[in-house]
């Protein structure tokens, strides 16, 4: 019995058609996942169901039936009873989705008043119950706090509590964990799963993350360019995806299995919503494209019981195998390190009082050490707020460190003045996280790439002549030099950023989450590019990331950071296969796996503490299942536990 039936839903924004004929059903208590890359119309579909579309967008046709009621025909007042009461919704950004100036309690009670007709003390008591239910410790105190006083994970729990306040039969979760760290993501997913089972609530999960889908969904709908292209049960989808797009999504995922090889990429990117299609929307990116694909919209075709696909190919699409590349090219550790960091500290003073004296410091980086050999990749792994980005910038002297030493090919950097640093800057460059913020929108691509060569006077007589080959080296065309950044997609922009860094022939590239803003298929392109460049140019990478799968795929060495310090380091093989630090173990276990296998390591409770007030003793002890008195007293020293593996934990001996 379906609780929600969506038929031919189409949403238009002027000429654009972000959702173009989507039909699916959700059964009571079922978790249905809408899967797709950004710009596929997943969120727009969800907002359309709730009739919460932005002003310019409108439902052009189609029907949405919830428990037998046609939502699109309801008057606005009737729709208000459905919102919150029948269908609850939680959003991607818990930071902006809660009203910043109202207390948590008020925001929950508002919903209770509306849907449960509870007021005053009764509403308050129920709100506290709900907070308890979503796993917020000390719920009564939290009622009077404001959203900014909560961490990201707690905020998302509050969002869930607000949604639960109306006892909805269907919960729409729009990328509920995308903005959260992996350990927090695991907590929130567990919570959603538990609520679904205990409350008998159906869940429409919107996500781009195959791991999350594997962990949560009963059935899956794959969206591409405003349409569903495949619908299947979880088992069928993960054992044999039928649409060529689905197949490629799997193949583009990096992991240890295709380590050293190349990832399968999907050429190009998702077409814009205002492009008109006649045939299959995936045709021009598809490897199995046939003449009929571009002329005729493929009909739905049953592949198997409960699995249907919109593709002209008979049967399921063939698997794409990843082609093994040149293999591991890393040099061995006999050479002196290219980058050597000792006890690096970056403290930001906290000023208080009449005279603004520093009364303390945010210890963003607090004594970290690491080594990077030429031509190798060191992954610096950690959750947001652990200081990994600050550490990267401090190594480049973009932020001046408070203490410690950074040596690049034997030259000490921290004691040099801005002028003295300049000759060394050509040896080390950075690729930033956000490809939209890292290119000046007012400069042409050519000017952006030339900037470093001009500033560092690299001795290239003809700067202009170098730009074309550089662009080609990163997989763009030379004639793109005269264009402006806004004409490029995220992946292309990241290529430009890489070309800019390469222009000065660096030996070290610090990559700060270079793929976290990109879709899976584009991420694969960039990762392939980075590994090609390493092979050809013998580059060393310091790869700052939170994405364990990416680490597993490309890193030779790994350093795990927690609250400003490296807690475990060593070769990727050792650290990732036999993690010894409880934090590393929890971090690895928290990553949702595409094969659906759950890790058996303990789930982490709570959040990372503030770097302004790190816990005494081992920073990790408040969240550590193994902690004892010793851990509360002292910070553990280094313990060597393998050929390369070093861990800072009393319990790892």
């Amino acid at each position: 019995m379906s609780i929600l039936e969506v038929r031919d839903l189409a949403i238009h924004i002027r000429a654009a058609r972000p959702v173009d004929g989507v039909s699916f059903d959700i059964a009571a208590g079922e978790c249905y996942a809408l899967l797709g890359e950004s710009g596929c119309g997943k969120s727009m579909t969800a907002l359309g169901l709730m009739r919460l579309l932005p002003a310019a967008a409108e439902v052009a046709f189609g029907s949405v039936s919830f428990e037998g009621t046609d939502l699109l025909a309801l008057p606005e007042s009737g729709m208000r009873d459905v919102r919150g009461g029948g269908i609850g919704m939680i959003f991607q950004e818990p930071a902006t989705s809660l009203n910043p100036v109202l207390t948590v309690g008020r925001q929950i009670c508002e919903s209770l008043h509306l849907h449960a007709k509870l007021n005053g003390a009764a509403a308050r008591a129920r709100a506290a119950e709900l907070l308890e239910q979503v796993g917020i410790p000390d719920p009564v105190r939290r009622l009077d706090e404001f959203p900014f006083q909560l961490s990201g994970g707690l905020r998302q729990r509050v969002m869930i509590a607000i949604a639960l306040a109306g006892s909805p039969r269907l919960l729409i979760a729009d990328e509920p964990t995308t903005a959260l760290d992996v350990t927090i993501q695991a907590q929130v997913l567990d919570l959603l799963d538990e609520l679904r089972r205990t409350q008998g609530m159906a869940l429409l999960l919107i996500t781009h993350d195959l791991g999350v889908v594997a962990r949560m969904a009963d059935r899956i709908g794959v969206m591409y360019a405003g349409q569903l292209v495949e619908e299947a049960s979880r088992e069928a989808f993960f054992s044999r995806p039928a649409h060529p797009y689905s197949v490629r999504l799997f193949a583009a995922l990096p992991d240890a299995a295709n380590r050293g090889g190349r990832l399968t990429t999907i050429p190009g990117s998702v077409p814009a919503a205002d492009v008109r299609h006649i045939g299959c929307r995936f045709a021009d990116r598809c490897g199995e494209v046939m003449p009929v694909c571009s002329t005729e919209l493929p009909p739905w075709r049953e592949v198997d019981a409960g699995q249907r696909v919109r593709c002209h190919l008979p049967g399921a699409a063939p698997a794409v195998s990843s082609r093994v590349g040149a293999g591991d090219t890393a040099s061995e550790a006999a050479t002196p390190p290219l980058l050597e960091v000792r006890d690096l500290q970056v403290h930001f003073p906290i000023r208080r009082g009449l005279l603004q004296r520093a009364v303390g410091a945010v210890r963003a980086v607090d004594g970290m050490s690491l080594q990077l050999m030429p031509g190798r990749t060191l992954a610096l792994v950690g959750e947001s707020g652990c200081g990994k980005t600050t550490a990267g910038k401090a190594m480049l002297q973009l932020i001046r460190p408070t203490g410690g030493s950074v040596r690049l090919a034997g030259d000490e950097l921290t004691t040099r003045s801005t002028q003295e640093l300049r000759p060394l800057r050509a040896k080390m460059q950075m690729v930033f996280q956000d490809p939209f913020a890292s290119l000046n929108p007012r400069l042409r691509v050519g000017e952006i790439i030339a900037e470093g060569m001009q500033a560092l006077a690299t001795g290239d007589a003809n700067v202009a002549a170098k730009i074309g080959p550089l662009l080609e080296q990163v997989g763009l065309r030379a004639d793109m030099a005269t264009r402006y950044p806004h004409e490029f997609s995220g992946g292309q922009r990241q290529r430009i950023a890489i070309a800019r860094a390469l222009a000065v022939n660096p030996q070290l590239l610090i990559c700060d989450e270079p793929t976290s803003a990109l879709d899976v298929s584009v991420q694969a392109q960039i990762l392939n590019l980075l590994s090609d460049l390493q092979r050809d140019l013998k580059l060393a990478y310091l790869f700052i990331t939170h994405n364990i799968a990416v680490v597993d795929y490309l890193a030779h060495d790994v350093a795990v950071m927690y609250l400003g310090r490296v807690v475990e380091s060593g070769s990727a093989e050792e650290v990732l296969r036999s993690p010894r630090h409880p934090y590393t173990q929890a971090l690895l276990a928290a990553v949702p796996r595409v094969d659906g296998v759950r890790g058996d390591a303990p789930k982490l409770a709570g959040d990372m503490p503030s770097a302004a007030k790190p816990p005494a003793g081992c920073h990790f002890h408040p969240r550590c299942p193994l902690a004892d008195d010793e851990c509360k007293r002292d910070y553990p020293g280094e313990t060597r536990v393998g050929a390369t593996q070093v861990v800072r934990c009393f319990k790892a001996g």
């Binding site: 002003a55 919102r83 989705s97 109202l102 919903s111 607000i162 009082g353």
Partner: protein, 325 residues
């Protein structure tokens, strides 16, 4: 919080010194005390003795900024600049160049100024926010469009025309209120109606439009979507969620002017013949009465700084995220 306020007040001292130096420079760079004496005394009575006497009476007989004749620290202190400025910091404004006590003048003229400025401020804020909310409630409809067009048209009319038009229509055609003037006590009300009305109407266009922009910006935020997803009616969304958050940017522009309400409105007071601080200032400017202008500048600056501080403090009330350190 207290430390913050004290620090801000201490920071105000160099600003006030700067203000003082600036006004001083503006007046004395081109205008010697002798010029001032000549102007005040009038053409007929100007004799060197009279000028000397005039200057001595008002303390203008010292050097401007550097007394070479004095000894030690007095080289700096026994000057017009120092003597006149220091007394102002302790609240002593001295006498106007025409001999009247400035502080007393200010206290008596404060009443009429406030009697116009406060109702104008409160009414103006209320009317503009109400109109803006109305337009936002009916956003993207013909009503909204017409409202915006009206706002733009209204803000394209000079304030002078509102005054003249108001005087003509209300006083001359309808005979509803006196055209100008003022009297104390309850009688004042009938003299206040017109200037307050004119002042409110002339400000509606631009402030309504400004508030509307702020509301519209707030309304696209994610938390508004959350509120709607709860099933709240649009009215509640607007008043409870949008208005509360929009208050934060609105406060920036609004609170800072509250202390300055004391200063009165130059234009309104001079057009309606209200004996407030605004018209006092205008008269002083036209008479080139340095003592009065300097005092008004000083008070104005103090009030502005108080306004800035009040803005910051009001943030802590409106926005729980702000903690003053």
């Amino acid at each position: 919080m207290l430390a913050y306020i004290i620090r801000r007040l201490l920071y105000a001292i160099p600003i006030l010194i700067g203000v003082n130096l600036l006004t001083f420079a503006l007046f004395f760079v081109v205008n010697t005390p002798d010029d001032m004496a000549r102007m005040q005394l009038g053409v007929k009575r100007v004799t060197p003795e009279a000028i000397q006497k005039w200057k001595a009476e008002r303390g203008y007989d010292k050097p401007l900024v550097w007394n070479a004749a004095a000894a030690g620290g007095a080289k700096l202190t026994d000057t017009i600049l120092f003597a006149k400025s220091v007394r102002m910091f302790v609240g002593d404004f001295g006498r106007a160049d025409d001999g009247r006590d400035i502080a007393r003048e200010i206290t008596t003229r404060m009443g009429p100024s406030l009697a116009i400025a406060v109702p104008t401020f409160v009414l103006g804020l209320f009317v503009a926010i109400s109109f803006a909310l109305l337009l936002v409630f009916f956003r993207a409809t013909t009503l909204d469009f017409a409202g915006v067009v009206l706002c733009v048209a209204m803000m394209s009319i000079s304030g002078l025309f509102y005054i003249i038009g108001g005087q003509w229509l209300v006083s001359k055609v309808w005979h509803l209120a006196p055209i100008s003037g003022y009297s104390g006590g309850l009688d004042a009300a009938k003299f206040l109606v017109l200037p307050v009305l004119v002042n409110v109407v002339s400000g509606i266009g631009s402030s309504t439009r400004w508030y509307r922009t702020i509301f519209l910006e707030e309304i696209t935020r994610d938390y508004v979507r959350t509120a709607r997803a709860k099933g709240l009616p649009e009215r509640v969304v607007l008043f409870r969620h949008v208005l509360r958050n929009a208050m934060i940017p609105i406060l920036t522009g609004v609170v800072v002017v509250i202390p300055s309400l004391f200063m009165g409105s130059l234009l309104i007071e001079s057009f309606f013949g209200i004996p407030g601080l605004g018209s006092y200032t205008i008269d002083a400017i036209n008479a080139q009465d340095f003592a009065v202008v300097r005092s008004m500048v000083f008070i104005g600056s103090v009030l502005y700084i108080v306004g800035l501080l009040a803005t910051d403090i009001s943030y802590t009330i409106a926005d729980p995220r702000v903690r003053l350190k």
